[in-house]
C-alpha cells in the first residue's frame, strides 16, 4: 500500500469528510511523528509499535574505491519496533506460505 492508496481507503471509509481533509490529517500525523523524532522523542502507538531515535557513533571508514580514510560523522537513525499485538498478528498464520 502506498500513501495515495492509503488516502483512497480512508476516504472510502469516511465519505462524510473532504478528501482534502483526509490528506491533511494523514500529513499531520506523519509530520507530528517526524517532528517528535527530530526532537529525540519516543513515539509509542499502542497496538502498532514504537519509534525511537538511536545514535550511531562516528567512525573512521575507508572509501573502498580509493582506499582513502574518511571520517564518518555520528548520526541519528530512527528505529521502529512492532508492538506485541502486531507481532502476534503477523504470525497468526504460519509464515512461509508465500
Amino acid at each position: 500500500m502506498t500513501r495515495s492508496e492509503l488516502l483512497r481507503r480512508l476516504a472510502a471509509a469516511h465519505p462524510h469528510l473532504y478528501k482534502r481533509d483526509i490528506e491533511r490529517m494523514v500529513d499531520t500525523v506523519f509530520e507530528t511523528i517526524a517532528a517528535a523524532l527530530e526532537r529525540g522523542q519516543r513515539v509509542e502507538l499502542r497496538g502498532f509499535g514504537a519509534f525511537t531515535v538511536h545514535l550511531r557513533r562516528g567512525r573512521r571508514g575507508r572509501n573502498p574505491r580509493t582506499g582513502r580514510v574518511v571520517e564518518v560523522p555520528p548520526r541519528r537513525v530512527p528505529r521502529f519496533k512492532p508492538g506485541k499485538d502486531l507481532r502476534e498478528r503477523l504470525n497468526a498464520v504460519p509464515a512461509g506460505g508465500e
Binding site: M1, L17, V26, T32, A36, E38, P78, L86, L90, P94
Partner: protein
C-alpha cells in the same frame, strides 16, 4: 496529552489533528485510530506500506531453522517467523541529522 512527558502517543497525534483540521476531538481521535488500523491491517494482509517522505514498512519472513532442546539435545524445527522492518526515507534520515536537531540520546546505537 497522556503518558510520560516527552513521549508522543495516539492522544498527541489526535490533538495535532484536532488543532490542524478543526474537526471535533472525538472525530480527530477516531481518524488517527483509523489511519493506524489501516496501516496495520495492510501490513498483515499485503506485507508492505510505503509512505513517501516518511518511510516504508516491510514484512520479512525469516527462514525455517533447526533448533535443539538444550536439555535433551533433541532436534526441534523452528517455524519461519514474520518480522516487520521499518526503512526510513532519505528525507526523514536527513531531518534527524540537520545541524538544528536536538542533542541525540546516546544509547549505544
Amino acid at each position: 496529552m497522556g503518558g510520560k512527558s516527552g513521549t508522543v502517543t495516539r492522544a498527541t497525534l489526535a490533538d495535532a489533528v484536532y488543532r490542524e483540521l478543526g474537526l471535533s476531538r472525538t472525530e480527530s481521535a477516531a481518524l488517527v485510530d483509523a489511519l493506524i488500523d489501516e496501516i496495520r491491517d495492510s501490513l498483515v494482509r499485503e506485507g508492505s506500506v510505503k509512505i513517501a517522505a516518511f518511510g516504508s514498512f516491510v514484512v520479512r519472513t525469516s527462514g525455517p531453522r533447526v533448533g535443539r532442546n538444550p536439555r535433551t539435545g533433541e532436534v526441534v524445527p523452528i517455524a519461519p517467523r514474520r518480522t516487520l522492518v521499518f526503512r526510513p526515507s532519505r528525507l526523514l534520515r536527513e531531518r534527524l541529522n540537520r545541524a538544528t536537531a536536538g542533542a541525540p540520546r546516546d544509547d549505544g546505537g
